[in-house]
């Protein structure tokens, strides 16, 4: 509908309806303010997980979920981490990728070693090279338990 016809109709309508229309218009325009306030308020509300802190400490899960002699692969970008529980108290965090060609390692329960599926490299629980082509030992990460939860420090 063209503006002219709107104009004419506005002139024709009764003062009562006209007042209603003014109210509607005012209400419509004040939605701008509402929307604006909503965006600002939503922005100011802090997000649930502040990533900046989470990026430095990785929560793995309850300590009971990791039996002695078992290992858990924790996904962390291109460099996953193995958390290995060697005994009741001790837990070791090792880089999960081979220092040779960056293949993701496998944990061998029986031998207690990390095997590389690509070229038969192997690492012990301290990250030392046991055999195969890897040129360097694995990078180590600090693991700690707090309130029964395992955390890895990146």
């Amino acid at each position: 509908m063209s503006e002219d016809s709107v104009e004419k109709r506005l002139d024709e309508i009764s003062p009562r309806r006209r007042k209603l229309l003014t109210w509607l218009t005012g209400g419509f325009l004040s939605l701008w303010g509402l929307g604006f306030a909503w965006v600002v308020a939503a922005f100011v509300k802090p997000p649930r997980s502040p990533r900046s802190l989470a990026e430095r400490v990785l929560k793995i899960g309850p300590i009971d979920s990791l039996p002695i002699g078992k290992a858990q692969l924790v996904r962390h970008g291109r460099d996953p981490i193995f958390v290995i529980r060697t005994d009741e108290e001790t837990m070791v965090g090792l880089s999960g990728v081979c220092s040779h060609l960056h293949c993701v390692l496998n944990w061998d329960d029986q031998q207690q070693v990390l095997d590389c599926p690509c070229h038969e490299g192997a690492f012990d629980v301290n990250g030392n090279v046991l055999k195969g082509p890897p040129p360097r030992p694995l990078k180590r990460f600090r693991v700690e338990t707090r309130l029964g939860q395992i955390y890895v420090h990146l």
Binding site: V39, P47, R48
Partner: protein, 373 residues
């Protein structure tokens, strides 16, 4: 309802000079005349709203208010971003990541802040061109020009310092390129490098923090002050009467103009939001100060001086090229006081010709700068 409103207004009016407080707002481009602060606010406003103003129907006149609104928007979005941004080399990039990823509307606020700044600079450039072509530097409007030109330069600095803050790859190197231009200019370049904590190197540990302080405190304060001064001169002198304005004097009252302003601001805001949603600035990897990213030039508005430096390197010694830039920017600032342009009514073509020459040179150098970058 309206009775209640006026009662509240009266209550305050007896205790506060509302008109005086409101007149502070007029310093930022809303009214181009002084309010009578002795009168009641409503009375003063009614008077001001009905005051006929010079050809308000002409759209270029709203550029000033657009500048004010954009700066206000920048301050608001900047303050919001400041709630999450951590200006240290270790956290800057990650905290922008948090804003973009985790904070509600974080990406939107960031994009509005970025595109608002680009739009602000573009509007300021168009505005200064209008001033030049319409002669808004002739007496008694020398200061209008000087303040507007200074405002443009301050906004360059605001954008430059802001761009580098998140330490993303291209932003960082873009800033380094820009600092190369800055450094080439004598006196001023040395001062800026000193101010940002850089010595021989452009970027040190302190640079990010200094950029941050400059970006959130010093330059915004400077910009707001300049706008105040700028509109003070306009209120003192009155608006310019350009060619063809005279016959339309008094046709429109201020209140009509305010509606026009509302229309243009709505369109502007819609444009800005569309830019922010459809062409978002990509979130790049964190910059590695030891690995130059090839093909990154300075920001678009500095491509021309950058192109000039690249063009003359090898031909002119660097200090001379820098001196030329310095003289060019100085001439730009003190244009009203260069005798040649004072009054030149007989040869009306001279000024547009120079304007066109300057614009063409700028565009050509910009294209050249973009190609060599």
């Amino acid at each position: 309802m309206s009775r209640d409103k006026s009662r509240i207004l009266d209550w305050f009016s007896r205790r506060l000079n509302l008109t005086e407080i409101f007149s502070l707002l007029t310093s930022y481009g809303l009214f181009y005349a002084e309010l009578d602060t002795r009168k009641h606010l409503r009375e003063a406003l009614d008077e001001a709203l009905e005051r006929p103003v010079v050809s308000y129907g002409r759209w270029p006149r709203v550029l000033g208010l657009i500048v004010v609104v954009l700066i206000a928007l920048e301050i608001l979005t900047g303050a919001l971003l400041g709630l999450y941004f951590l200006p240290t080399p270790q956290t800057a990039h990650a905290s922008l990541g948090t804003i973009l990823r985790d904070v509600n509307f974080g990406w939107f606020v960031h994009q509005i802040h970025f595109w608002g700044a680009q739009l602000l600079i573009a509007v300021l450039i168009v505005r200064i061109l209008r001033f030049f072509i319409q002669g808004v530097y002739r007496p008694p409007r020398e200061l209008v020009w000087v303040f507007a030109a200074l405002l443009l330069l301050v906004c360059f600095h605001l954008d430059l310092t802001g761009r580098a803050l998140p330490l993303t790859e291209t932003a960082y190197w873009s800033s380094v390129r820009a600092l190369e231009v800055v450094k080439a200019v004598p006196v001023y370049g040395a001062f800026m490098i000193f101010l940002t904590g850089g010595g021989e190197l452009f970027v040190t540990d302190l640079t990010l923090l200094r950029f941050y302080v400059l970006h959130v405190a010093l330059f915004p304060a400077l910009a707001v002050t300049l706008i105040y001064l700028h509109f003070s001169t306009i209120r003192r002198i009155g608006l310019t009467e350009g060619a063809g304005d005279k016959k339309r004097v008094g046709r429109a009252a201020l209140r009509n103009h305010l509606v026009n302003l509302a229309i243009i601001l709505t369109i502007l805001f819609a444009f800005l939001v569309t830019l922010a949603v459809l062409t978002p600035l990509p979130f790049q990897r964190e910059a590695d100060p030891y690995a130059t990213v090839p093909g990154v030039g300075p920001p678009w508005y500095l491509l021309a001086p950058f192109g000039f430096l690249e063009l003359t390197s090898g031909v002119l010694p660097q200090w001379l090229a820098g001196l030329v830039l310095f003289l060019a920017f100085s001439a730009f600032l003190v244009l009203p006081f260069l005798d040649r342009f004072r009054v030149d009514t007989r040869r009306r073509w001279v000024v547009p010709a120079i304007a066109i020459a300057v614009v063409v040179a700028w565009v050509v150098l910009t294209i050249y700068g973009a190609r060599v970058a």
